[in-house]
Symmetry: C5
Subunit: 313 residues, 5 copies
């Protein structure tokens, strides 16, 4: 059971002196004392509208937004990531969860072909701090940047300022960085993914979520290792992508961490499109790998219910 101690947490120097302990608390909560992040991505309720939550191949339970909170409660994860409003409406009944407030969002209606992507801040930091003042476990913020978009500069400016403000308050920040727009020929190009990871570091993020690279030669995990190193002190986590079968999903995750140097995972659809019971077991299997260095086989046993898992630290 890998455990990091308070003094192993590196506190960036833009954290205000009187918020250093708050930052350490938040970092340890978000990583469940492991230094690795298991992020349950619920922000696509907005980003993908209802297509990810209702229809063919999706468990009917997923149409009710409370499904997300039930999974998080019964399963194991580091943070539930969602928009401020979603959290505000449910957190009173789920006070024990750690929340990461996704600060910007866009729908998928306007295609990249019509217009380069831009995702606007849905509120300022002050509006998030009210949640914290009201007892919500807000441990950090999330923000999406479409690198290479013609609106890149606005998103970089928003993200840079947000990170500075969040750190000043002792919150951690996760950047979602996706190269996208007319200028981007290949969104999964390994050099581009590594560049995105480095950009996240330069902006001061604590974690960066990227898509798995697709190299011309070698495995995705090998290419990911370059990006993880380029990210330096910013932990890199991979997006889960569309729903695949559990063995494939867990094997990929294991490779991303142990070959690719990833510092965790960020998973949404793969979890919430399942029934409550199955989804809960998947969060435990994922956490077994991410937080406790379980093998793929052990994690699969957790998913199949033949093995118990509970994060102890």
């Amino acid at each position: 059971m890998p455990v990091i101690t308070r003094d192993q947490v590196r506190v960036p120097l833009d954290v205000a002196p009187d918020r250093r302990e708050v930052y350490v608390d938040n970092y340890l909560k978000a990583t469940r004392n492991s230094g690795r992040l298991m992020l349950f991505a619920c922000d696509q309720k907005f980003e993908h509208l209802n297509a990810d939550f209702h229809g063919e191949g999706i468990d009917p339970a997923d149409n009710d937004p409370e499904h997300l909170f039930r999974i998080a409660r019964q399963g194991t994860c580091g943070v539930l990531a969602g928009q401020r409003g979603l959290i505000a409406q449910y957190a009173a009944d789920y006070p024990e969860l750690n929340y990461l407030v996704k600060m910007n969002s866009k729908t998928n209606l306007v295609s990249t072909k019509q217009e380069d992507p831009f995702s606007a801040l849905l509120s300022d930091l002050e509006s998030v701090l009210i949640l914290r003042d009201n007892g919500v476990n807000v441990v950090g913020l999330g923000y999406t940047i479409y690198l290479g978009s013609e609106y890149e500069s606005t998103m970089l400016a928003d993200a840079g300022q947000l990170i500075a403000q969040a750190h000043a308050e002792g919150l951690i920040v996760v950047l979602w960085i996706y190269p996208r727009g007319k200028a981007v020929a290949n969104e999964k190009d390994p050099d581009l993914i590594a560049g995105a990871a480095g950009a996240a570091l330069c902006l001061g993020a604590d974690f960066v979520k990227v898509n798995p690279p697709k190299p011309a030669a070698g495995t995705s995990a090998e290419a990911l290792a370059v990006a993880s190193e380029a990210a330096g002190r910013c932990g890199l986590v991979c997006a889960g992508g569309s729903t695949v079968d559990a063995p494939t999903f867990l094997s990929q995750l294991h490779e991303q961490i142990h070959v690719g140097g990833a510092c965790g995972n960020a998973t949404g659809r793969n979890i919430h499109q399942r029934s409550l019971d199955e989804a809960v077991r998947l969060t435990k299997a994922i956490s077994a790998i991410t937080l406790d260095d379980a093998s793929v086989e052990d994690a699969l046993a957790v998913f199949e219910g033949s093995k118990e898992y509970e994060r102890q630290a």
Copy 2:
């Protein structure tokens, strides 16, 4: 007579601690202690210019803006929704009404074909709070989002921030969400309407007003049920649309609530284009269904004047 009690009101966690009771008061006032919203939409005085208020098939009384206030006084509704300026000019003479300030508006002059729609904030929240300080019963705010417009991001940002600020002050918020713009092929697509409802939840709204979906198969009310569930803790209400005969209108409303899971209604033209007497009776018939679970037959009797109706709670 369905009545909800103070402790049944779910207060979102972005309401400032010292404004929780204010929020509960406003929620109960707006819903007349029913948990359902009967919204009298008067904002089209601006949005549709004078076409909805004067001309063929419209009672001459409707050209005088005071007609709206007279209907609300003599009839039964939860809130009168209108722009800040309209309310400021008449509320001194109609102090007993509940007002919902429609914060943004646009005219219908520039067509979607010419330019994707955008509706700008007409004032900040502070300017609304002055009304409240002056004794106006401002219980909440309204804001329109054209989802899928190329200006979606600005409206999402404005709405997200507005909801945070309004909740901090104990006001409720109703979002009008209409998918519209070059990117939107079918504005009444059921998946899109459900997505819009979910987006309203993620932004933290208390109620969302959508157009009734037009499904390829099944009834509109059945499709609406999916959207209502996707909206989670955000109550969904349907727009009334253009003027139809009262029996049709009341039947649709009954189905929206009892099949579609709607939490109320938002009606404008169907009410105010009639003479004062007829309009007053229609608000009572609508309220009988919305607030008191009346049958369509009983509601029609109220509209025809053969049955009395007064909300008691």
Copy 3:
């Protein structure tokens, strides 16, 4: 001599409680205790550049900007409307005049064909209040909206916020609303003019200046009556337009008020393009009709100098 008393002035509820008496003072000053507005429009010094002030058919005196102030001093009007800077440079020598500060302006160089019209705020309200603090009789503000322009949303937002701020300070607000832009086929369409009048009310304006409608059937004044009613508690005044002979001008004004329900007039070129003496007599003739319900004949006698006129209240 029509006179309204202090308690007949309806104070909008966005006027701050401690500024109610200031608002009443300003309303009575601007309307010379009549409830009707005689607005001397001097803002075209900026809007039309020098074309309205120098050249063929214009009295040479009009090239000197002080001509405007001399007319206002010797003649009779409710307010002199002009840009903040113009007033700042002359008001020390004309302290007895009532001023309405025109807050936004554009030149006529960029045609509507080249670009839809937009008129930007030339200063904030604070900069106007300094004038008041320095003893200038600033009774209100003016703002122009080009309804239907692609920049409509910015002007609506500016106007809405400005009205809220001005009322909070006890100032009255006059909106100039002109439908204009690629989306507007007929700027004088009666429905459109009536819609503009209603929009001004929704924004909370005290007066709205519109162009006289040109109906397909009936007189302009008859069409104006619909707009006046649609404006509700927002007083409607008509723009004077280009210079015509005095009898025609005074007849039109009389009809606008007594048939069209107008609450006054807004006149510029018709006045200042004349010699000082003639201009002074015209302001008195206009005021005789607007403020004192004079007949056209009596007003013409005032213009021709055969009858004395002085507003007593």
Copy 4:
């Protein structure tokens, strides 16, 4: 030796009451107690990049920016106009000069053909006041407006607000107004120049710098007289334009003042492209005409060194 006294200075009513004496001081300093402005324009160091300061026909001394300050020290002028940064770097060594801070600037790289001109504020007023607090003789501000540009509205808004703020602090303001852009067929059209002068007055400027008009009939100075009158209480000064021989230059200046009603001059290249000695003599010749009503012959004698000149007041 024309001298105006303190009580002859008209203080605009947007000057804060406790800054009236500061304004009078600044006005008298800038005009050297003459009421006329001799402005040494050094802002083209930025606007024209190095083309005006180095190359064929330009004295080599002009490539060193300190040349500008040396001329101002040894010569005679009212104000040295330059960007905030330039002044900040040299003023410690030239504390006796009067400075006018040019608040906005653009380079000449993007042509009007490519894009209509816009010139952005390089800092806010607060940053200028620090200079004053540090002992720099900042007597006023300058701002350029390209009237008729598609970006006109932003420049009008910036200028209007800047003038209000500057006056509130007791600073004078000089506007440079050049009609330019796709909408402007003839930048030197006399009506347009007169309109620009009137616009400067409406914005509240103390002085306006325009290009000399080119009338179809009559002299430029005669056409200028119309503009000077249209500017009212805003003093009009003419731009010097490209370098011409001294007799031509001084004759034109004399006519601009005595026929055209100009209130001074604004000269750059004609001065600084010469050697230090020659440039110094030219500032004295210009000042002899502008400040002391010298004849062209006397001014030429000053330029040629055969006559002494020193402003006494």
Copy 5:
């Protein structure tokens, strides 16, 4: 060993009076008491994404961002220039270094052909001052302007304001100015480079980094001398450009300083693409020339390890 004393530092007059000593400290630290700047440019981690840090011809060590800090610690330089976030994540372990925070950045994904370049501020100054409060040696700020871009005005406005604010806090400012965009035919045109240098002065910068000019006749260093003079009291430094062999690089640098009048250098790729040991030796060779007026031969000996170098002052 060239040394300047405290009283030889010219403090611009926009430095707040109580920050003059801070400015002197920062100036002396950044220039290692030499008056010349040896800037180690690490900002391309963001600007060029990972292409400058990984791949063919680049030492593998360069993929780890900490490589940059290791070089700076073991080598000799005036400041390490990098984005705020990068510095925040590493400075706790490298407290002895002087940092220059690069305030704006863009990626290289959107080409100039697709869109004229714009680089947005990644945070405000306050967020940088937190670093200083936390003990980081922030001696100054950097900002990039693409002169001639259609977005030039926004960058000029940001830079102008930033310089004013930074000076008020006692920080020095380095501008990177690159003429670029559709309007710029030849980015290395000597007149343009000289103009850029003069623009930096007018904005108030302490140093300006430009690309070496490519004159039609004469050497680059001779052309640079014109630019250095045009920059006046703003020290000019040259960008290092892409990696070349050390003798060529050091010869060019020597010429830039001793012929071209440069005040230092700004070097990135030439240093960090090498192994730690080689990179360290190169920083010392560069510093020997820049800070201690070493000959090319001596500097080469330092690079080759046959000669010791340590800046003493």
